[in-house]
């Protein structure tokens, strides 16, 4: 039995071939930039996406801030213009009353 079991164990536990793409996966990880080497592929992808999202969010925020500033400036300009128009209207309505009074 001992010899039979030994032989069976040798055959059952014989080396099997590694997956065809295992070597390529290992070399891909070895060739990655240093900060990504420690991560498994799915984690590296998640980290890259998170980094990309962070950069994009920052860009969006800056863009929104710029848009907000531009809106405020546009409103200020509009307000000034309206003040100027209002002033002219008031001055012109005063002139009309004086003319009416002198007729």
């Amino acid at each position: 039995m001992s010899d039979d079991l030994d032989q069976m164990l040798k055959e059952a536990l014989a080396r099997v071939e590694a997956p065809a793409d295992l070597q390529a996966k290992i070399m891909a990880r070895v060739n990655r930039p240093r900060w990504r080497q420690q991560l498994r592929p799915w984690a590296a992808l998640a980290a890259s996406l998170a980094l990309g999202f962070g950069v994009w969010s920052g860009y969006q925020e800056r863009q929104a801030k710029r848009n907000g500033e531009q809106l405020v400036y546009a409103l200020q300009l509009a307000s000034e213009k309206m003040s100027a128009v209002d002033g002219r209207l008031k001055r012109s309505s005063g002139t009309i009353r004086i003319e009416e009074m002198t007729r």
Partner: protein, 179 residues
């Protein structure tokens, strides 16, 4: 042959990635098989193999010779398997298609018998499983296993003895079951 292997190792240590790739090609079956026999799960075995070789890449300069490299890989693989097994309970996958043994022509009865043997090996305690894999997959003697795992040789013999006794008993029980 030995000089060529040492030359490839030396070039890998100098940063030659193609040489390192050659080392991966030479030893990946050994590493993958050990992890596969330990967990009976291909995805886990692949992850372990990737981690082992990545660790080798970072530590290749500490390897002294080709013989040292083989021992280093075996030890690293087994230690990672045991660590991982302790972190979570491994689920056994009974996918027969994972077990096509290249070159076999006399199939049916042997496949079931080998499958039973593998199942029983996978049910052994981690430390016993490790020595069984090194003994029967790698054909190492108890002294060589002791050197690889940095254990006393009597500890290795004791674990092997208990493992084989347990396997023998289980195989006998299976044989004796009514049809």
């Amino acid at each position: 042959m030995r000089d060529q292997a040492d030359d490839i190792l030396a070039r890998a240590q100098d940063g030659d990635k193609a040489a390192f790739g050659s080392l991966v090609g030479t030893y990946q079956a050994m590493v993958f098989s050990a992890a596969l026999h330990f967990f009976r799960n291909r995805a886990t075995a692949e992850e372990i193999a990737q981690d082992v070789f990545f660790d080798l890449f970072r530590n290749v300069k500490s390897i002294e010779s080709e013989a040292h490299l083989a021992a280093w890989l075996r030890r690293n693989t087994i230690n990672r398997c045991i660590d991982r097994s302790r972190k979570k309970s491994s689920q056994l996958e009974l996918a027969a298609s994972d077990w096509d043994a290249p070159g076999r022509t006399d199939f049916e009865p042997d496949i079931f018998a080998y499958e039973r043997v593998r199942e029983q090996v996978a049910c052994l305690p981690d430390e016993q499983r490790a020595v069984v894999i090194l003994r029967f997959q790698e054909d190492l003697t108890p002294s060589e296993i002791a050197g690889t795992l940095r254990l006393p040789v009597n500890t290795v013999k004791s674990r092997l003895h208990r493992a084989l006794g347990s396997l023998r008993q289980k195989m006998e029980c299976k044989k004796g079951q009514p049809v």
